[in-house]
Each structure stands twice: as structure tokens, then as C-alpha cells.
């Protein structure tokens, strides 16, 4: 029998015992719906996680430190490189070199220092860090009250929420995070605070310290000369800064304990020549005018390129750090989660499988005579088998389509409900429910195949039916 005829006959037969076949089909669709719901939840959560994590900059950033910096992330494999004493320092030339590596978007110095900020005549000590203008796309500033820096040199600051709370004199227990960031931001936005910092000033003209403090040391006049070249003085300065934003999230979660709570525009921070911890460490070394950076952040085009970029920088003789390994295990976690959710979803489909077998076996009993007639007028075993397969397959496709729609609807409802909840908690809405097209196709195909498998036994049984026996019934 040809396929269109087969389909037509199958659909006609399904319509004949409408109630039973509808119930079976609903059984299939519930199975498919639960499968789709489970899988789309898994996929959605994975997408949400990676979207969040990608935007946080965690996975496309490599932090480069000098091997001279013995306190930093010294991993085993890095101990094989050049000895710290012989390795290069992170200066502007290195930064440009790294920036020109393939797949590198930008490389900017990490300027971070601990200093005092005065607000309302009260001193507050905290870590300050500089942000490049590209940080604007960071997730942390997405729905931030206020705005990002108006320019890369503007005397403006963005505060982290906890620091803003400190300025307002609110003290919250650690881990308690229920204050609305907008409420905290409201009294602070547009206000000024004063930053006190130590500026490093190069002393190019005959440093008085060199000539006046060591008149008796004539043996080391050559040494004095080189020391004088690298000498600088440290001056205390003050700068008024306008608060433009209060970030709820932590844009520097990767930094762990050294993360900053106050952020400055990068170019402004560079122009301040703030005394850096590395300056002290490099004091004994002859240096040029070029500043030496404690670390450089390198942003890579996409997380896939982190590894080659890291390798290239390591070859240059620096230490690197990225959270790529962490990201890998997160991906793996979601794969496992998907499999488990899929298994639970498939359980419902297994129940539907039994439903199909039951319905079709019942149909054989009921249509015994009809099968006998068809055989008597020339239907082959294959025709009868195909007819039952077509009925199972049609129920499968129908159930699959309805199930996908149902699963999608369930997802939408849960999404909606959760977003209403998130809104009531003043969180931004989220899409943690994703039904990609491949899942739609896969679910319908899977339902079809499961139904065909369920039709295997009934179809075989119908095909083997003895027409003489079948026709004997009156």
C-alpha cells in the first residue's frame, strides 16, 4: 500500500475509536511535554548560566602577572619557566605586545590600590580599581542605578553596593542581600567624595636625596648615578569624584579577596600615577619612565580562545590565570543535568509507550474481523503491519506536536510565574526556559520513533492473524 493511502486509512481508523485514541495520544503528549519541559529547563538554565558568566567577563579574561610577583597564582606548571629573578616585568611595551596577539580584544593594566575616600567628612579605606570603557557591557552594570562613566577620563566613580552601604552607615551581616540597590543608590548618586592618594612623581632634576644624604660614600658614585635616574618622590594628593552609579553585582568576582569596591575610569586612573605596590617591589631595579604594572587583564574574543592566548602569553614568560577550567566543569555539570532531566522526561514517555501498546492490542481484538476481511480481499501481512505502524506513528507525531506545544506552554507559564516572583523581589526578569528548534524536532521525532517501537508488537500480531479464524467470528 502506498504511503498516502496508508496515512489516510490510519487517520480514519484513529477517528473511529476517537475517545480511546485521543486518550492514548494525550498520554503521549504528556510524555513528550514532560520531556520537552525537563530538557528545555536544563538547556535554559545552561544558557542562563553561560550568558551570565560570559557577560561577567569571567570566562574571556586572562590575568597576566609577572613571574617576579611571587605572591600571585603560582601554579605547578609555571614553576618550570624562567626563574623569577630573570623574568620580564609587565610594562607598557609588554602590554602592547600582548594586545597584538591573535584573538585578543584588549589588554589593559590592572590599576588597583588601597586608599582613603572621604564622604560626609568620614574616612573610608577600600580597594580601588580602574575599569576600561569596554567594561560597560559587563553584566554588573546592566541594570545598575545611575550610569556608566561618561568618559574614560571623567572624574567619576562607581561604587559597589556594599561600599555604598558603608558610606550610608548601614551595616549588614555578611551574606544578607535583601536591600534594594536602587534605595541605596538614590541618596548617593550625583554626590561627591574625596579620594586621597599617593602620587608617584618622577624627580628628573638632581634629586636632593642622592647628593645630600651620602656625602661620605665616594666609592659608589656610579651607583648613585643610576639610583638617581630611577628616583621619584611620593606626594599626597586629593581628588573630588562624582558618584555616577552603584553596582549591585560584583564585577570583579574573579579576583577573590583582592576585589575592589570602588571603580574609576581607566584613563583617569592612569593619569593619576598612583603609587602601586609593585613600585616598591621594583625599587631596587633600574627602571625607565614607563610604569610597571602589577598585572594586566587580557580580554579574549571568546572563551574558546582563552587557552591558546594563555599559552602564547606563558611563552612570553609570564604567569597567567583564567577560570576556563571552572567553566569546563560547569559545562560538564549541565550535560549531566540534561541527561538526568531527559531520563525523567523519558519516564513519562515510557508510560505512554505502554499506553500505545495497550491501545493497539485492544484495536486488534476489536478489529479482528476487519483485519480478516482485508486479508481475504488481498491485503498482505505487510499491508496490515504497515497499517498498524501508520496508526502508531500518526499517534506519535500527533502526540509529539501537541506535547511540544504543551511543554512550551508549561515552560512559558513557569517562566512567567518566576518572573512575577523575581519582579516582586526586584530582580530583573530572566529567561531560564529555552525551547530551541532542534529540541522541537528532536521531541517530535523521538515521540514518533517511540510510538513506532510501541507499534512493533501489535503490528506483528495483527499481520500474523489467521484470516480464517478472524472471519469465523460473527
Amino acid at each position: 500500500m502506498k504511503l498516502p493511502d496508508l496515512t489516510e486509512l490510519a487517520l480514519r481508523n484513529l477517528r473511529e475509536s476517537l475517545l480511546r485514541n485521543s486518550l492514548t495520544t494525550i498520554g503521549i503528549s504528556v510524555g513528550v511535554a514532560s520531556l520537552v519541559a525537563m530538557l528545555s529547563l536544563g538547556i535554559g538554565l545552561q544558557q542562563l548560566a553561560s550568558r551570565r558568566l560570559m557577560k561577567s567577563g569571567l570566562f574571556d579574561t586572562v590575568v597576566v602577572t609577572s613571574r617576579r610577583d611571587l605572591r600571585n597564582f603560582n601554579r605547578d606548571e609555571e614553576r618550570n619557566g624562567p626563574a623569577p629573578g630573570e623574568s620580564r616585568v609587565l610594562d607598557e611595551a609588554t602590554r602592547t605586545e600582548i594586545e597584538h596577539l591573535p584573538n585578543v580584544l584588549e589588554a589593559y593594566p590592572d590599576i588597583r590600590f588601597i586608599t582613603e575616600l572621604r564622604y560626609d567628612d568620614k574616612p573610608h579605606l577600600t580597594m580601588i580599581s580602574a575599569l576600561p570603557s569596554s567594561a560597560k557591557s559587563n553584566d554588573a552594570f546592566d541594570s545598575m542605578p545611575g550610569s556608566f562613566f561618561s568618559s574614560d577620563t571623567a572624574p567619576e566613580v562607581i561604587l559597589q553596593k556594599t561600599f555604598a552601604e558603608e558610606l550610608l552607615g548601614k551595616r549588614l551581616a555578611r551574606g544578607v542581600d535583601e536591600t534594594n540597590v536602587a534605595q541605596i543608590a538614590a541618596p548617593l548618586l550625583g554626590k561627591e567624595l574625596t579620594m586621597r592618594y599617593a602620587q608617584r612623581e618622577a624627580s628628573t632634576t638632581s634629586p636632593p636625596a642622592a647628593s645630600s644624604t651620602s656625602p661620605q660614600d665616594h666609592d659608589s658614585s656610579l651607583n648613585e648615578q643610576s639610583v638617581a635616574e630611577s628616583a621619584y618622590s611620593v606626594v599626597s594628593r586629593e581628588l573630588k569624584l562624582k558618584i555616577v552609579g552603584v553596582a549591585d553585582l560584583d564585577p570583579e568576582s574573579m579576583r577573590g579577596p583582592t576585589r575592589a569596591r570602588v571603580f574609576l575610569p581607566l584613563k583617569l586612573a592612569e593619569s593619576l600615577h598612583v603609587m602601586q605596590p609593585t613600585d616598591l617591589r621594583e625599587l631596587s631595579r633600574p627602571v625607565s619612565d614607563q610604569p610597571v604594572y602589577s598585572s594586566i587583564s587580557v580580554r579574549v574574543k571568546n572563551p574558546g580562545q582563552v587557552q591558546p592566548v594563555e599559552d602564547a602569553i606563558k611563552k612570553m614568560g609570564f604567569n597567567t590565570f583564567s577560570i576556563l577550567d571552572a567553566s569546563r566543569s560547569i559545562q560538564q555539570f549541565f550535560k549531566v543535568l540534561d541527561v538526568f532531566l531527559g531520563i525523567f522526561g523519558s519516564l513519562a514517555l515510557a508510560v505512554a509507550f505502554i499506553g500505545i501498546v495497550n491501545t493497539l492490542v485492544m484495536a486488534i481484538l476489536e478489529r479482528r474481523r476487519e483485519i480478516g476481511i482485508m486479508k481475504a480481499i488481498g491485503a498482505s501481512d505487510g499491508d496490515v503491519r504497515k497499517l498498524f505502524f501508520a496508526e502508531a506513528g500518526a499517534m506519535g507525531i500527533l502526540g509529539g506536536v501537541v506535547g511540544v506545544a504543551l511543554g512550551w506552554a508549561i515552560g512559558q507559564i513557569i517562566n512567567l510565574g518566576t518572573n512575577v516572583y523575581l519582579k516582586s523581589q526586584s530582580f530583573p526578569p530572566e529567561h531560564f526556559w529555552a525551547v530551541p528548534w532542534w529540541l522541537v524536532g528532536f521531541a517530535i521525532l523521538f515521540s514518533f520513533l517511540v510510538s513506532l517501537a510501541a507499534g512493533l508488537y501489535p503490528a506483528g500480531r495483527a499481520a500474523r492473524l489467521d484470516p480464517v479464524q478472524a472471519l469465523r467470528y460473527e
Partner: protein, 253 residues
Amino acid sequence: MSVSNGAEPNVAPAIRVEELCRHYRMGEALIRAVDGVSLTVPAGEFVALLGSSGSGKSSVLNLLAGLDRPTSGSVIVQEKNLAQLSREELARYRLHTVGMVFQSFNLIPNMTLAENVELPMRFAEVDRAKRDSMAREALARVGLQSRVNHRPSELSGGEQQRAALARALINRPQLLLADEPTGNLDSRTGTEIMNMVREFNQQLGMTVVMVTHERALAERYAQRLIFLADGKLVGDEVNSPVAAGSVAEGERS
């Protein structure tokens, strides 16, 4: 049409049955439904198989139809030994060589008459358009042109049997097998059906084997009467059927 032409050697036999046996096992007992039947039916002959219930006449018909397989012996129809055909080949044989009508009509209740009649053509994979026109034509030939879209339950017994005849003949078989075709009909409608069967037999040269327990009916239409009892052939008579048109009333028992 003469009775004797069935015995003439120049006409190729349509059916040749040799030492045909069909035994069933029912628990401990062996039932010999058909037990060593041999007969030859020339092409174009109208044969009646007579016997009381349990005589094995329906079993012989099922073996001729390829619905059942013999325990031993052979059934040769159109030079093909049905005992040696595969299930697939038997289905093709039923589809193209044989047309069947039953006492209980056996139309598929959820299909219209047109759909019932075109069903064998679906199995034969005939094109839809051709199928449709042929089904209508066949129904018109049995006088049901106005009922093509009715379901069997909306029809009288006689009309259902006419539709069943149209279905049996749709693939132009050479052999028509009828199992008590008038058993569920009153005598007038029965006569109507029998006249149609005779017409197909005479006009299309179709071989007809009809199972019946009504001797009077058989005598009126068949050219040859074969009697079965306990699965054995007990009589084979040449008969002169009543001429078409002159039909008496009240033969039903």
C-alpha cells in the same frame, strides 16, 4: 451454454485439487475437516459445493481462496500450486486471481461503499483517480450508483451483498468464490444476487465456486453439484440450471 463443456478436454482446468487434506488438532482429537478430496474444475464453470454444516465445504473454499493451507495434497489454480506459495504470494493471489463474497457480506462498517469497493485496489496500489472512477463504475453495474457515499449500515442486506460483489470483482479476478451468498437474504433478494453471479459467470467467463446447503438454489444456477460429507467427496453430478429469467419463488428452507 451446455453442461457437458466442463468435461471437454480442450478447456484448460481452472482448478485442480488432488488428495486435499486439512486436519486440525483440537486438544486430543484430530478433526479431518477436509479428507482426501480430488476434483477438477474447468475454466468458466459454475460449481456448487453442497453439504450439511461441518461437511468441510467451507474449508475447501478457504483452501481454494488461499486463506488456509492444506495439511497435505495440492490445490492448483491457474497453474499455481497454492500449497507452495509464500504468504506474500498468497496475498497477491487473493488480490488478483480471486474474488470472494460471504454470507455476512463482510463490508468494513466504517467505510462508505465506494471506499469498501476500492479497498482491494489500494492494496494493488492503483492510482487514486483511476480507483475512484472504477469503484463508481463497479457500483453502478450492481445498481448502487446512488449509494456510493453510504455506509454499509445504511443499506439493506441485498444492497450490501451487491456492494460486496462489486468489491469482489473490482480487480477482475478469474475465480469467484461465494460462501453461502444468499444465506442472510430473503429469497427475492437472494435471487437477485444469484442472477448477478450467473451474469458474471456467463458474460465474463468467470469460474464460480459457490458453497451452499440449499440444494434447490444450487440446482437452479450451478452446472455441477459436488457433495461433501465429513470432509470427503461423496457425489459429483452434472446439473442443468434453469434458464436465466425464469425463477420460481420460495426455495428458502
